[in-house]
């Protein structure tokens, strides 16, 4: 039951290890300011169904470096926690 749920909603991007990829399931947002940031993330190409690869995860809750749609993007940890992905296990 709980397994199925996590399959549907995915895990936060921050749960991925360096070098792992996932498929974006959803980008959660709050209200107001956070909503603008969700929009920004999606405008940068992080839309549901997109493949995203975590290249680097800076220590001490630092930002993540990801590759999405063929380019490098830095995402703060707080933002990355709002991006939910399904881990790709075909590797």
């Amino acid at each position: 039951m709980s397994l199925k749920e996590s399959e549907n909603t995915g895990v936060p991007l921050t749960a991925l290890k360096e070098g792992e990829s996932g498929i974006v399931v959803s980008v959660k947002s709050g209200y107001g300011k956070a909503w603008g940031l969700k929009k920004r993330l999606m405008d940068m190409g992080i839309t549901p169904g997109t493949k995203i690869k975590v290249v680097k995860s800076a220590p001490f809750r630092g930002p993540l470096e990801v590759i999405v749609r063929g380019y490098r993007l830095a995402i703060g940890r707080g933002m990355a926690e709002k991006i939910f992905v399904k881990v790709e296990c075909d590797g």
Partner: protein, 646 residues
């Protein structure tokens, strides 16, 4: 009979090369560098081409035509409302998909447009091959490959742009999926009786997407449309399980992805490139930080060594000429005035300021053009959170070492007004080129480079503490970092030299008249016997609290105009660049620290007023003056105690 007129706007993602193209076309010098978000305000220039007078407009780089950031609003308003004759959509060929996502939105606006497929050289290096004819056919827009930094393809691009502008050719309609097209159609039908300055299909898409600005405009003219909006959005959201803005964004990306699949082939190079290796190490958990300290320290060492060399050189040449120049002008009141006002000012300016300013500008532009800025922002994200900011705020800080004015403007890369204000406040505390003149030219030259270096570190620590303090005064949740990291590239030598040159000219144009006017005024005040009065009035602060010589009061006042003036005035009052005659080592340190913090210069204050309003600029200025005086006096007492121990 007058020439034909055209307006061409440059639009596209951040860091694609719009400003390089703009500079090439207009001969102007917009800020160029390899990090996203340099152009924050639209810029205009003119070009005469084939009998046309063309107004070229450089717009801030954006990723979408929404209105969530200032840059997006500026660009969208310009294109949608002011309607240029043609838009040149500058596209980074090496990141085609994300760039096309923006292209699709321009097409929705139905503006006549052409595409500059720029950085085609970079794309080739990455093994990316693009079928240009096919891309052009799919979009119904002329596509010209360009290498803006080399001027390749720009002639053809212009010809195409003029052709499209003359014929007023609209781009093809972008076909979205069936459900979307149905929804759009229903909106368009209901919009037929509303008069709006935009194409109906664009309005329909924006309504579907939940664009607040357009929605307000429409609802104002026809409130009856609200139920329709809700029902159409509800249907789609029910069917796909995502909100409509998400759905529309995804749909555009789907279409962009399909186009890319059709026109692009990638054969990635088998080995990681040098740029990738450098990226790897400069963002490394350990080496990244070590390298950053090394890079920044060597930058100052470079400025110091080269600066000192130039200073000695200019000093001996110009002060050698002094007797000769004096003999031409002769003595007497007028001679004194002229001599003191103009020539002494010029010489002091040239020997004190120029030597350090040139290498500093050069170093910063090299950093900017390499792509290092975004890496530093990545590394510093954590630390900047402690000031209620995020990593991007470190970029204005580094720019601040060159000049605080562009640094304050660059604070626009921050997302909220609160963050912009904190970042700008912190940036004004960074010792700019003018203050570097004082740090290196006074403390570095007469006490040794290690002391100058210690002052920089001391400054950084205080900047950090004051940043934290500002965060306490203006609390709030810091927004997260979202920043593209562009590939490293070898700094383009010509661009770097050109930018340094233009900035130097700008510096001379602003600084020298002020330097001359200031020295002139001081000489006049001195001749009239008021100098004593002014210095005496200031002496409770300068002499009693800060322990500086009385004569220094007036130069601190002039430092308000430009920071380096404080030192230049000293030089011109002394009639020599040898400051050790006037100041003890402790006084040098105190003087430098006070000028480091005591006020942003006039130009910076003006920028602060423009960006944040009078009140905030005033508060920042006053608090910095008080802080500088306080810290100077406290430090003096500490230094005195330390001195007695040895």
């Amino acid at each position: 009979m007058g020439e034909k007129k055209l307006v061409i706007a440059l639009a596209g993602n951040a860091n694609v090369g719009k400003s390089v193209l703009f500079n090439y076309l207009t001969g102007l010098h917009q800020h160029i560098g390899n990090w996203p978000g340099k152009t924050v305000e639209k810029a205009e220039g003119t070009l005469h081409f084939k009998g046309y007078t063309i107004d070229i407009v450089d717009l801030p780089g954006i990723y979408s035509l929404t209105t969530y950031s200032i840059e997006e609003s500026i660009s969208r308003r310009y294109i949608a409302v002011e309607k240029p004759d043609v838009v040149i959509n500058v596209v980074d060929a090496s990141i085609l998909e994300r760039n096309l996502f923006f292209t699709l939105q321009l097409m929705e606006l139905e503006t006549p447009m052409v595409i500059a497929l720029n950085q085609i050289d970079v794309a080739k290096k990455k093994g990316i091959e693009i079928n240009i004819d096919k891309l052009s056919e799919i979009l119904g827009i002329p596509v010209t490959p360009t290498i803006a930094v080399k001027g390749v393809g720009i002639f053809r691009l212009l010809e195409k742009a003029i052709e499209i502008a003359e014929k007023k050719v609209k781009p093809k309609k972008v076909e979205y999926g069936e459900d979307f097209e149905n929804a759009i159609k229903r909106f368009v039908e209901s919009l037929s009786n509303i008069d709006l300055p935009y194409p109906p299909r664009y309005v329909a898409i924006k309504l579907l997407e939940g664009d607040r600005e357009i929605e307000q405009e429409v609802v104002q003219k026809n409130p009856n449309i609200i139920p329709l909006i809700n029902s159409i959005r509800g249907e789609l959201e029910g069917k796909y399980g995502h909100s409509c803005p998400t759905l529309m964004t995804s749909e555009r990306y789907r279409v962009a992805g399909c186009i890319v699949k059709d026109v692009q082939k990638i054969i990635p190079p088998s080995k990681p490139t040098l740029a990738e290796k450098v990226h790897e190490i400069t963002t490394h958990k350990v080496f990244g930080y070590l390298l950053m300290s090394a890079v920044l320290s060597s930058m100052f060492l470079f400025v110091f060594v080269l600066g000192n060399f130039l200073a000695e050189l200019l000093n001996s040449i110009l002060y050698g000429l002094k007797p000769f120049l004096t003999s031409i002008l002769g003595a007497g009141f007028l001679g004194e005035l002229l001599w003191g006002g103009i020539i002494e000012g010029l010489i002091a300016g040239a020997t004190v300021a120029l030597p350090y300013v040139i290498p500093l500008y050069l170093a910063i532009y090299i950093l900017e053009d390499s792509g290092y800025m975004s890496r530093v922002a990545f590394l510093m994200d954590n630390a900047m959170h402690k000031m209620g900011l995020h990593g991007k705020a470190f970029i204005p800080l580094i720019l601040g070492y060159g000049c605080n004015v562009p640094a304050c403007l660059a604070c626009r890369i921050m997302e909220t007004q609160r963050e912009r204000l904190i970042a700008a406040f912190v940036a004004t505390l960074i010792p700019c080129a003018a203050r570097t003149v004082i740090i290196l030219g006074l403390v570095g030259r007469f006490l040794g480079v290690q002391w100058a270096f210690a002052l920089y570190v001391f400054n950084l620590i205080l900047v950090f503490l004051l940043g934290r303090f500002a965060f306490k005064v203006l609390p709030g949740e810091p927004t997260g970092l979202i920043m593209e990291i562009p590939d490293y590239r070898l700094p383009h030598l010509k661009t770097v030299l050109k930018q340094t040159w233009f900035r130097l000219i700008e510096f001379l144009q602003i600084a020298f008249p002020l330097i001359i006017a200031a020295t002139f005024t001081v000489k006049l005040v001195e001749e009239l016997g008021f100098l004593e009065v002014v210095n005496k009035l200031l002496s409770p602060v300068t002499v009693m609290w800060l322990g500086l010589p009385k004569g220094i009061g007036i130069s601190l006042i002039f430092g308000v105009l430009r920071k380096e003036l404080a030192l230049i005035m000293l030089a011109s009052l002394l009639g020599t660049g040898d400051f050790s005659q006037l100041l003890t080592p402790v006084q040098m340190v105190i003087f430098t620290i006070v000028t480091m913090f005591y006020i942003p210069c006039v130009a910076t204050i003006a920028t602060l007023v423009k960006e944040f309003g009078w009140r905030k600029a005033f508060i920042i200025t006053i608090s910095e003056i008080l802080f500088a005086i306080a810290i100077g006096g406290v430090l003096l007492r500490i230094l005195r105690i330390v001195a007695t121990l040895f």
